[in-house]
Symmetry: C2
Subunit: 333 residues, 2 copies
């Protein structure tokens, strides 16, 4: 038996908490600390926050620098924000402490896509201290990007790829339902969309990752987001969507070589979406079609892939890496 | 542009030739040599052997040592034998030359499973010269093992796994049809089976790989092979299977923890098999079901995954590695 990997949870929103809960169950991991700036959480035992019915001895701290200096973890489960500029200082701090990072930040999937200078700075900082930084998740990070790349292993040539993901948002947590606009009017939806912090984050990063993985040198990446309107009233455990209100989103990502569409990602996330599934189609030799008939949904899956990525990241080369650069994540025990 | 990886094809049977043909099409690879001991092939230009209608300047050589010394390749596509004892000296020679290896040898998928001492010797030799050795393929190596492990990334816990693969051998090359016994009588089939060189090779290695990937500490690995008899006459492009003759094989692999079956691999390869497909079912939280509706078949797929594994192996740490230890293979361009 090798000693367990010492892990700190950084960011205790719904996904961060789910990842912390799961990490506590893994004998190959030892959760040794928890960091969050929310005053309602600081000072609480993680066992209370997770409603475990027991204390864990892990008390939520607000001062990340002090916590890292004291705990010296091998790896951090980082779940604070989708957006790279918002987490830059956190990642630099983690690198200064030489700590490996598995992050749920969608923009970190392909950090240089939107933030090339910031990515270079983070890469240099991580390399200087021997730390590895990985952004991953179910989407982006697996269902609509990595799977297509993995499937390409058995092909001689790939001309194009299409990934379809249908998620019934009614089966997901409330923040996810809110994020896809369930229950909004169309005008509220448009207003929310303009913030850039709404809907599914990371579609263009998925296109960029697929393109890198399949060796497509894209000229252009585009994406579109449209509301899906409820054809009838729909009640979830958390809210009611009335007929004609927004039930969720339809989000397309497109990657072009000149005028040729070579990457097409088609995501539907709305309350009441029928036939949830994930599908990957490679226009390739031989052709490849791959389907998860019930889909890969649920916050369980997201928490899982974060926790299951820890061992691979701890063993990986230093620097900013992507899911294409490390051994495939697999269940941690 | 980085310079292409210099590759030598070692072993020019059907799979080796298919891999060489594909490597010639890749701009990121440069095929610089070809090795085979078959007197009918030695001295021939690879272009003639592949019926390309042009010469390549790559002439088949029998003396591997001399070829490697002169060509100094980065990586070898190794397709000579399924069995580790038969390729030990070849792999040691390759390691002495510091050459990375992608091999189709089924036993090399998990070399220490059947040959722990030999595996340790190869690992030490490879490490001493900075070479990496990987065994891979579609099956074993992808369809019935790696895919299940990759799918586990999105699960919190896995209790058991079942992989089903159905291949219509009528769509495959003649050696594959012969290898599964198409056209044999039942008694001939039994006799062939006793040689241990017949049927699908690598089933137990697949069970071992799945177990390692999913963290199952197995007490026992078993496999069974039964003939599938043709219910009616069946003609392939190469041979005729008469009603009552062997059409191919049904091969099960089992991995147990105590008496609990936790890994079940179910392979059918026979002439006329209906509904060819690949399927992975994880009894997990959340449950995972994954299906390739038309299957991942064809020698194209096997040649592809070998060629597509070259870049990952060239970038990997030295020593004997498995497909679990390297970044996922993806299409080489």
């Amino acid at each position: 038996m090798t000693s367990p990997v010492r892990v700190v949870s950084f960011g205790l929103g719904p996904i961060g908490l789910a990842a912390a809960r799961l990490a506590l169950q893994k004998t190959s991991l030892q959760l040794v600390g928890a960091i969050d700036i929310d005053p309602a959480k600081v000072g609480q035992d993680l066992g209370d926050l997770l409603e475990l019915g027991r204390t864990t001895g892990i008390v939520v701290e607000a001062d990340a620098d002090a916590a890292l200096a004291r705990l010296k973890p091998d790896c951090v489960l980082h779940c604070t924000s989708s957006f790279l500029p918002a987490i830059k200082d956190q990642l630099l701090l983690l690198s200064r402490h030489g700590v490996d990072v598995v992050s749920s930040s969608e923009e970190l999937l392909v950090p240089e896509f939107q933030h090339p200078e910031l990515a270079a700075e983070l890469d240099a900082a991580a390399k200087a201290s021997g730390a590895t930084i990985l952004g991953t998740g179910v989407n982006p990070g697996f269902a609509m990007d990595l799977l297509a790349v993995v499937a390409s292993a058995v092909t001689m040539d790939v001309q194009s790829v299409k990934c379809v993901r249908v998620v019934d948002a009614a089966t997901r947590r409330l923040p996810l339902q809110r994020k896809v606009g369930a229950g909004l009017s169309q005008s509220e939806f448009r207003k929310q969309l303009e913030t850039g912090k709404f809907g599914h984050i990371g579609m263009r990063e998925s296109v960029a990752l697929v393109a890198r993985g399949l060796g497509f040198e894209l000229d252009r990446i585009e994406h579109t987001v449209e509301p899906v309107l409820a054809p009838e009233d729909h009640k979830t455990p958390f809210l009611i969507v009335k007929e004609g209100e927004v039930a969720g989103i339809r989000n397309h990502g497109y990657g072009y070589i000149q005028k040729r569409l070579v990457v097409h990602l088609d995501l539907s996330m709305y309350v009441g979406a029928p036939d949830p599934h994930d599908q990957v189609e490679l226009e390739s030799e031989p052709p490849i079609s791959l389907r998860f008939p019930s889909g890969i949904a649920g916050d369980q899956a997201t928490a899982s892939i974060l926790v299951n990525s820890v061992h691979g990241v701890v063993g990986a080369r230093p620097g900013l890496v992507t899911v294409l650069d490390v051994p495939p994540a697999r269940i941690a025990r």
